[in-house]
Symmetry: C2
Subunit: 249 residues, 2 copies
Amino acid sequence: MENSDIIYGKNSIIEALTSGSREINKILISRNIHTDGKINKIKELAQEKGIVFQFVAREKFQPYAELNHQGVIAQISPIKYMELEDFLETKNHTNSSLVILDGVEDSHNLGAIIRTCVCAGVDGIIIPSRRNVQVNATVEKISAGAINYIPIIKVNSLVNAVQKLKDSNWWIIATDASANDNYYDVKYNDMNFAIIMGAEHAGVSKSLLKISDYVVKIPMQNSFNSLNVSNALSAVIFETLRQKLMKDK
Amino acid sequence: MENSDIIYGKNSIIEALTSGSREINKILISRNIHTDGKINKIKELAQEKGIVFQFVAREKFQPYAELNHQGVIAQISPIKYMELEDFLETKNHTNSSLVILDGVEDSHNLGAIIRTCVCAGVDGIIIPSRRNVQVNATVEKISAGAINYIPIIKVNSLVNAVQKLKDSNWWIIATDASANDNYYDVKYNDMNFAIIMGAEHAGVSKSLLKISDYVVKIPMQNSFNSLNVSNALSAVIFETLRQKLMKDK
């Protein structure tokens, strides 16, 4: 059983039971944990949906000792990544938004980014199939179930994906510490746009910066200027939302 | 040796050596790790400052097995929290900002918040002495050294602290999911202000909401609406910075 085929933690499993599109095969609950409201909810939802749940000995959880599983694990069908072509064709996009991750390596960061994107109404997240963390059990846990609300699009080449987006009339905004413009100088309304966030140390690759329509920075106010990537994205993505909501008023 | 009296990880220790105001007693480096550029930098900085560093057997790190210490630990004087009175008197505050944390329990969140605050030029962070995570070794590690660039003010009562700020003519902005106004509706320029962020589940306490000048929300775009507290703060605090920088233009 691969890590990507389990999810763990009470909230993740409740979210997967209520909003997930993925098939849950079985839920394992440790006999040693205290049955609280959330465990009862998991049991109820599982019963409703005809999903097997088993109370098992503590030892069954030994392989997952390093995970903060709270005594409950679900075996689940692997996440279905979306194809970029399918994303572009699902609807007539206007004022849609995407986030493109170029080399984000930390599971906690990807989980937090997924959460932020869902809250801010982003329409999808593009990750490359290499040199980037994939959606694993930790990402799902940190996302607190948000993973069920947003398509994750996996591509072999970010450059090709960006080119395809440009061909479909999307605007590409890359973030880079040495940019001249600030992220809030761009007007995000009336267009489909994709924001590219880079690895925490290396930033966005040169090949992507070169084909982006805008390169923007977050203005730093201190000689200590190392902003966590999920917090950087939050600043940018909620600015795009602010502009949208201010305009709709 | 208490957890609060050590810091760990290469970057944290380099930051403490270069910018920290705290006394480093001794640096322990595991004999089993590969000596890279950062380890060499730690040795150089320690030599410059006359700080003892020792290469020790792997076993010495056993008590810290659960920490991601990268084979290097420093024994350090405990963090010096600032008194609110001292903060208020250090300078004639104009356009200053504070972040007040009401019940943030997770070390990763506090570390990320410290990082974001430093990058955005926030002048200080207030935490209560109870029911909130304190600055421990994990917080320092996650803050990536940012802890050395911002005063952390610890108070026994947040209500008293907020009252004192109001008496000193500061404006208080609390965040709450059920607020009517959005965070970007407030004009943050031309005033000293403090943003109150609540616990992830409980939110800001009623007693603090009642005495705040503004209560604002981050508009959520999805039925899944659980934004991580450090990402929520990032959205709000960079909006205050945007307003400031747009005005300065």
